[in-house]
Symmetry: C2
Subunit: 479 residues, 2 copies
């Protein structure tokens, strides 16, 4: 049903997003400029995201560890490009325990510098490599314009940091994380399809050799960078002295990588799937996958229906994350509305007639109204729900793929690019420079999101320079 307090996407996409965050009770602003409070439902989604990522990060051989929140300014300054990129965004602690500090401390904007110091102590020989570490932490970047989840001064993330004996191994790690961890998680758990590719030099991480990214399309056609993986070359190893003895007893600098995703993924999840009725949560990450609403009038019906509900839910034996909404003071309509706004994938209704017939009504969140409602026998309900959750995931993913494909245009020249990025992505032949990218951004607000791995082989004339090229780039406006 339409919601008074949610601006339709078509009217104002940006306000719609803020309305979803607020009405679904995911987050709110705080007393601190640019910092948000992540409320229980928003945090429960993040916990499920953490769990899916952590499993993949450990399965690919990484161990979690924890490094200090503070980084002495002198350390941050060791890698020249790194400090140039991050110094303007840093929050600085100048006093501790009532005294001015001898050296100011940066609140970590990312941890290459402090982790680099540890790696220099941990790595001595080729036997110590690869060193595969991940950290779950909060970081702070002083942002001017913030939006809940998408861009906040403090955010939560994981940051992987690894060291390797060769450039090839560092490159392999960088790509493995992008493909086996980030893209796999995004598509298989968030139901958000992503383009994979390399960032241009203009867009890469401060201090990296190469940055790879996954990019998703939101429902307004804009891009959201959902994860990045950096091959840092030997830049940080040189700056922090991460050296090892090779098999042949030579001293070499290690090759390092870093990679991260953040609470921004919650924003991606919201913007990729939700509708004008509220949040639509992908089933594998939904804190509540199934809400059961008993329907009754009066005490006798109440007892009969609740007894049936208890019996049915008990028979599922923890197969799903279930909430039985047996609040007495609210009507079923109020409850339907609340769980719709909060994005619960499957709603089960049980009334007295269902009890008599041994059935239940099952409604799916991603297809509102009659279209998504079915009556199902209680004896087969668990299997039905399990299959339905799978179907909802696949349907959400396919819809998002279709939307992206429908909003991606192969452009032949700059005029077509200008048009295409108004509503989505432009796939454009590209042989330009950073200066060309900057000019295009100034004129169209679009940037190169990635040079995709998936290349057509033959492209055409570069939209900036007119030179023949075999390479395409994906242009889009971004969050």
């Amino acid at each position: 049903m339409p919601k008074d307090n949610i601006t339709p996407r078509g009217d104002n996409y940006s306000q719609w997003y803020l309305d979803i965050v607020s009405q679904a009770d995911l987050a709110e602003s705080s007393e601190v400029r640019g910092c948000m409070v992540i409320k229980p439902l928003g945090y429960a989604i993040w916990e499920n995201i953490q769990s899916g990522l952590d499993r993949r990060i450990k399965a690919t051989g990484h161990s979690n560890a924890y490094f200090p929140l503070f980084i002495p300014m002198s350390l941050l300054q060791r890698e020249a490009q790194h400090v140039e990129g991050f110094a303007p965004e840093v929050a600085v602690v100048t006093h501790g325990g009532g005294e001015p500090l001898a050296e100011p401390l940066a609140v970590r904007p990312t941890s290459e510098a402090i982790i680099g110091c540890s790696f220099a102590k941990w790595v001595h020989s080729w036997r110590d490599l690869p060193l595969l570490i991940n950290q779950w932490a909060n970081v702070v970047r002083w942002e001017m314009r913030t939006r809940p989840f998408l861009r906040t001064t403090e955010f939560l993330w994981q940051e992987g940091h690894t060291a390797h004996a060769t450039e090839a191994e560092a490159e392999e790690e960088t790509l493995k994380i992008l493909n086996e961890v980030y893209a796999d998680f995004s598509e298989r758990e968030m139901a958000v399809p992503v383009l994979r590719g390399r960032k241009t030099d203009r867009e890469k991480f401060a201090g990296a050799l190469r940055t790879y990214a996954i990019e998703a399309m939101m429902q307004d056609g804009r891009a959201l960078q959902a994860g990045t993986s950096h091959n840092l070359g030997q830049n940080f190893a040189r700056a922090f002295g991460i050296k090892y003895q090779t098999v042949d007893n030579l001293e070499e600098y290690a090759w390092t990588t870093s990679w991260g995703v953040s609470t921004r993924l919650v924003g991606a999840l919201i913007m990729a799937h939700s509708d004008d009725e509220g949040l639509v949560c992908p089933p594998r990450l939904a804190p509540i996958q199934v809400v059961v609403v008993p329907i009754y009038k009066g005490e006798a019906e109440r007892a009969t229906v609740l007894e049936a509900v208890d019996r049915v839910v008990a028979s599922w034996g923890g197969r799903f994350r279930v909430k039985v909404d047996d609040r007495d003071q609210m009507t079923p309509g109020f409850k339907f509305n609340e769980w719709e706004v909060k994005g619960v994938p499957v709603r089960v209704e049980v009334g007295p007639r269902d009890v008599a017939k041994g059935t239940a009504a099952v409604a799916r969140r991603d297809k509102p109204g009659r279209e998504g409602k079915q009556f199902v026998g209680q004896d087969v309900l668990a299997d039905h729900i399990a299959a339905l959750l799978e179907e909802i995931h696949n349907s959400m993913f396919e819809r998002a793929v279709r939307f992206r494909d429908d909003h991606t245009v192969d452009v032949a020249d700059y005029g077509e690019l200008v048009e295409a990025v108004k509503t989505g992505f432009a796939r454009a032949p590209w042989a330009g420079t950073g200066a060309d990218e900057e000019r295009i951004q100034n004129e169209t607000k679009a940037t190169i999101r990635v040079i995709p791995f998936d290349q057509p082989g033959k492209a055409g004339r570069c939209v900036a320079t007119g030179a023949e090229t075999d390479q395409v780039a994906i242009f889009g406006r971004s969050y």
Copy 2:
């Protein structure tokens, strides 16, 4: 076997602790004064602690959420006792994004102030209560003398924050957390027995009505406060405006609580159980519960033994957290030593004769040497290990209880107290004041750890004032 690089407990307990932390590779110092790096094994123990606590926190009805790292100084100052307690320990951010801030921000030393602001927005009616929130976060307290895990400038913790309609409900919550979450976790998962009780006014949390704590005894007889739970009364509700409308339409301040445990528990775990050979990790929290060491000479034996090891471990089907140490370049003796230092509860050795006989040798970490070694048939190995892990937990717990009882003296007068706290706890009749506590601390370094819930009913003459009293207090030197 004795370790060259671990100082025996009897020689220097404090150095022994540092040696265990370093030799078991749990943590190390960092470039930032008072902040440690938690290394993978230390962090894996913390992850298991988190998991056991989080399960209990959710089972008692609490939801996780996340609040900002920064607290505007003016907010921290709203509750008078609170700021008095924490202001001297605060790290202060004065610059952000290259500019001085209009108002300095405290890095949270605890989150009552910032969470109080949110609670004031979230609570309107009695229907919104109880409000049961928990946060996993890092906090910073500027400490002068630090020790890994036990006292560090930055540490990791959970902090629960709840609001209730009545004092009785807040009190019930405070005690439920102490008993059902903290004490239950400590005893059932850490195998660390704890005394439960109330803190004196002198020792309570800054701004609390009453503070309860669990206190454990370390192997040097000193106390370690392992968790605290505070009934905050209406102090914070008044300071932050957490008001609700009662059933009778009256406006009332809510009653709030807060409670926390931290990475200090890792220190408690180490100091309660470990020995001169290294870490002894309680089985339920051990990142590796069973290490399997294949024993062979030459290629043919190697193939036979590894095939058997793979088959046996596969047959356990994920029942334990297992590591097969099949590193070729190390001797079995080297491996035994490494896993002994790192505290793995059970070691399984499989050699060619074991393969021929269908057996394995099983050694337990908590009883080193011949005493703890058994030969077990491979067909019953899984059940044997499962039972052994239980037995190890129980044995570690009982040993710790025995140690505490052996080092706790019922004292009749001050002279006996002075002696008793040199080696352990004194259980003393108590009717003194804060000034009496201070004097005793100055003279003996011992403080009242708790007024225990477990009271004898009839005590004797107060060790400070000589007045007849029915109450005993537990005195001890503490970490």
